[in-house]
């Protein structure tokens, strides 16, 4: 089997960021010190999560329009990977906060918003698994997924930006403010760290989707 080009790109990017992320020069800032390198690892988790949840909701809408179960499988698996990235983002954020803010959880608006978003998406999986009938499960799950996505707007994109916070970008964008991050770090972030981690998530999601489809096929033949 030949590896697809985007998988090769993902591997190269991850290898580069795991070296350049530690050796590359970073601006010396008080409080942050060397932890500023977490920017290459913590922030891509959230960017990745947003992309996976967007893909998930698109496929949920597609499922409701077409009624094809494949679309539902794609929506579920991308929501799964999005949740994984959300958990990783929350945990890495807590580890980072422990050394810069003084404690892992300070009831910061961004932390609470992310935790609420996590619980809402977690409820999506719980809701799905509480139903046995596949069509009913897919339909109710898809409708819930659209509402869960709508809740991302206040919890992740609006409320954290309105309130004072320890997290950078309190009165603007949490990750993209020009003054927050050195432009040289931003190159490494946009061209290597963010696409590398995001493609890794897509890769895992496609593997899960293919496995689920194989399982479905087996069930149909049995």
């Amino acid at each position: 089997m030949r590896l697809a080009w985007w998988k090769i790109l993902c591997i190269v990017q991850l290898l580069i960021i795991s070296v350049a992320g530690f050796i590359g020069d970073v601006p010396a800032k008080p409080i942050l010190n060397e932890t500023i390198r977490n920017y290459y690892f913590h922030v891509p988790m959230w960017f990745g999560m947003m992309i996976f949840f967007i893909v998930s909701v698109i496929y949920s809408v597609k499922y409701l329009r077409s009624g094809k179960l494949e679309h539902d499988i794609v929506a579920v698996e991308y929501a799964n990977v999005g949740l994984l990235f959300c958990i990783l983002g929350l945990t890495t954020g807590m580890i980072w906060a422990n050394y810069t803010w003084g404690k892992p959880w300070s009831n910061d608006p961004k932390q609470i918003g992310a935790a609420i978003a996590f619980l809402i998406y977690f409820a999506y999986l719980v809701l799905r698994n509480s139903m046995i009938d596949p069509d009913k499960r897919a339909k109710i799950g898809a409708v819930y997924n659209i509402f869960a996505f709508a809740m991302l707007f206040p919890t992740i994109w609006i409320i954290p930006r309105l309130l004072e916070s320890l997290h950078p970008g309190g009165m603007g964008n949490p990750a993209l403010n020009p003054g927050d991050v050195d432009s040289r770090m931003r190159y490494l972030f946009y061209f290597i760290a963010f696409p590398g981690w995001a493609i890794l998530g897509v890769w895992v999601a496609t593997l899960c989707i293919r496995l689920k489809k194989l399982e479905e096929k087996k069930l149909q033949h049995a």
Partner: protein
Amino acid sequence: MRNKKWPGLLAGLLLAGISLFSQTPMTGDEPVQMADALHANGKIYAVVAVVFTIVIGIVVYLIRLDRKISRLEKEA
């Protein structure tokens, strides 16, 4: 058909390469305690080696999983 895939990979690698040029020393900030000793005596490379190994391990595992699923798809 395969020729169509190479421009994508090349463009991605080119963008990745450009960003490496931006890794020039950063100066002008007020003195802040950084892990300069870790960089000076080369111990940072131990950390890099560990993370590099983990990434390679995960990627090899993913590739193997990918191949297994491809084989199952062919059989089905």
